[in-house]
């Protein structure tokens, strides 16, 4: 079957870790998410959360490198959720303890309020930020999972 351009169950974007590309990422996200049964409010929340994850990578992941690295953004639909992975290949930097300099730490806090579940994993290969947001009937062509889902939810931060 030839690929359908309107299918949004899996989309992968690669962009330079440069702030100049954040606007293009938002435009692309808005375009692809518009095919899903999301309210404008929910779509805004997802776009803003992904924007924060990408901005974090732009600002921190490749700070020691002369050339900016890349950011991979992948989103896919499951039977009951929209998932987005934002991945860089740079270094994770712990937010400093004590009073925070301007601009540090707020992005992650916002992500955790904007979407239902935020998982952050980092190692020597880079950082993965996984955002998961419940969506009812995320795509009419996406069939429910044939096997029962594992009980419970993934560990990680959840929206209050």
């Amino acid at each position: 079957m030839p690929p359908r351009s309107d299918r949004t169950e899996y989309v992968h974007l690669t962009l330079p870790a440069d702030a100049a590309h954040l606007c293009g990422l938002r435009n692309a996200m808005n375009e692809y998410l518009s095919a899903l049964p999301l309210t404008p409010h929910r779509r805004d929340e997802i776009v803003m959360a992904v924007g924060e994850a990408a901005a974090n990578a732009v600002e921190h992941a490749y700070r020691d490198q002369q050339e900016p690295g890349i950011i991979d953004v992948t989103f896919w639909t499951e039977s009951d959720a929209l998932c987005v992975q934002v991945r860089d290949q740079g270094r994770w930097r712990e937010p400093p303890s004590g009073p925070r300099p301007a601009g540090q730490g707020l992005g992650i806090a916002l992500m955790r309020r904007l979407v239902d579940c935020v998982l952050i994993h980092y190692d020597h290969r880079g950082t993965d930020v996984l955002l998961r947001h419940p969506v009812h009937n995320p795509a009419p062509y996406c069939q429910p999972c044939p096997t029962p889902r594992a009980a419970g939810r993934p560990s990680g931060a959840h929206r209050n």
């Binding site: 690929p3 351009s5 299918r7 169950e9 899996y10 989309v11 992968h12 974007l13 690669t14 962009l15 702030a19 100049a20 590309h21 954040l22 606007c23 293009g24 990422l25 938002r26 435009n27 692309a28 808005n30 375009e31 692809y32 409010h41 805004d44 929340e45 803003m48 924007g51 924060e52 901005a55 732009v58 600002e59 896919w76 301007a102 601009g103 707020l106 992005g107 806090a109 916002l110 309020r113 904007l114």
Partner: protein, 127 residues
């Protein structure tokens, strides 16, 4: 940016919205009151420039500054930090400051969940 479909083929590149983050700052002063209006989008790409433009509207002798964000479409944490810093600066200068946000939508949502009101008064216009 290289978008790809699920089978690895190139996905259509969406054509929507401006190619770069754009915002516009207008400043109006009347006696000792400044009204600063920001429209467009503010993110990491232009936050520093927009902050400098906003600060150009702050002068000695002002008693009140209103930052009108009702025409803003997008703001991220870099933009929100402008509001925190502005609130601190105005408090130090003993200038009454307020931020006006849209009744609903992403700007109000971000300002609310970031807790901007701890740094500067946030007002929602009446419908």
């Amino acid at each position: 940016m290289r978008p790809m479909g699920g089978d690895g083929s190139a996905a259509p590149v969406p054509e929507r919205g401006p190619a770069a983050t754009q915002a516009f700052v207008t400043i109006a002063r009347s006696d000792d009151v400044a009204l600063i209006k920001v429209t467009g989008e503010v993110d990491l790409a232009n936050a520093e420039t927009i902050e400098q433009e906003i600060l150009q509207g702050i002068r000695d002798g002002l008693s009140a500054v209103t930052l009108d964000l009702t025409g803003l479409r997008y703001i991220d944490s870099a933009g929100l930090w402008i509001l925190f810093r502005l609130g601190t600066s105005l408090t130090t200068a003993k200038i009454a400051g307020e931020v006006v946000v849209p009744v609903d939508g992403p700007i109000r949502r971000m300002v609310d969940i970031a807790g901007v009101s701890a740094a500067i008064s946030v007002r929602v216009p009446r419908r």
